[in-house]
Symmetry: C2
Subunit: 233 residues, 2 copies
Amino acid sequence: MVASEFVSELRNRYGIEFHDLSILDEAFTHSSYVNEHQELGLKDNERLEFLGDAVLELTVSDYLYRQYPDLPEGKLTRMRAAIVQTRSFSAFSKEAHFDQYIRLGKGEENAGARMRKTLLEDLFEAFNGALYLDQGRQAVIDFAAQVIFPKIAAGQFDANMDHKTALQEFLQKDGEVKIEYHLLSESGPAHDRRFQVDVSAEDRVLGSGYGKNKKAAEQAAASDALEKLQGKL
Amino acid sequence: MVASEFVSELRNRYGIEFHDLSILDEAFTHSSYVNEHQELGLKDNERLEFLGDAVLELTVSDYLYRQYPDLPEGKLTRMRAAIVQTRSFSAFSKEAHFDQYIRLGKGEENAGARMRKTLLEDLFEAFNGALYLDQGRQAVIDFAAQVIFPKIAAGQFDANMDHKTALQEFLQKDGEVKIEYHLLSESGPAHDRRFQVDVSAEDRVLGSGYGKNKKAAEQAAASDALEKLQGKL
């Protein structure tokens, strides 16, 4: 059973009160716990994660669509990808203290699973899946309005995001990739220099960009590469 | 403007009547048409496609979650992927005659874009995005209940699906890949033979499986490979 202090925290901090606590329990039950306690016949949180993933995808998409009426589809997609990803969801999970309440098997606990980002991401999705089942989609929107939307509005994921980091995460989702930036040219008078940089991974040039300094040109190159890579998906 | 016979067809065939026809127009306006008629200041359907994609993902996920209470997450995910994909969405688009009503630029028209599967997939998403904005999520569920759910219920995407085809589509989404099945062993008495097959792509073994005949073993191997490949995503 989910700890009563967590139930209180959800109520006091987010105004959330589950009608059916067993579904909240399910969201906070990792498969490793189920396996180690087969006599209890518990359900793990994976089906809720499946559902929550889709609920969050729509919640974020709908918000972005309405909030940014002039952004073209490519930018909306890029922004959504920056939000709906392991790094963000695991951070939201920790912020909401979900990591403190997940039930883990001893083996996974000892292996440090409680801090594993993918586990925390799955947990965030499972919680939202449970919230959706228990109270409908508006409850998920209300929760996102507290945990996700303010960060979007504050620009944490917008066009000012770190394109180099985004490119790195995009390329390295299947393993380590060496990314290199090369200065191609430097031109213009001293007070108005113009740098051109390209970015490559595994010796393949992925994009290029200009900027008033090397850093800005690198960001532009990374953004160009992302645009091209994501256009191909 | 969307043709009046299409407006009638939507009403008569699916019981759908848009409050705001301009959003239906937008869903049926391809970027190539916007580009060739810049004086009209039209919007293309790409932002609606962004939104519709997420609406459909949740619509299908929610249906699968409730309809198959005993399916584990891995199978739900695999089924969702079999439904939410170009081949299926483009077929739904044609079934609803959407291909007849999209406004295309002349260049794209001549290039055969009206029959292009990715265009028809985008169009299906854009239509559902428009429907969601115009009438809310229940309208999309009602439409899916006519166009998508009966096919799921009829088993078109379920565990009896063709794993070999699914594996081929999965592997070839980025280009041609040579897939090979090898018989590894054949054992047991004549009335109870047991075949073992593995499947490889580009000389890498991806999975293996058993069956009472070669065909069944190949299907099992393809299913095993898909399971492993998708676990890595």
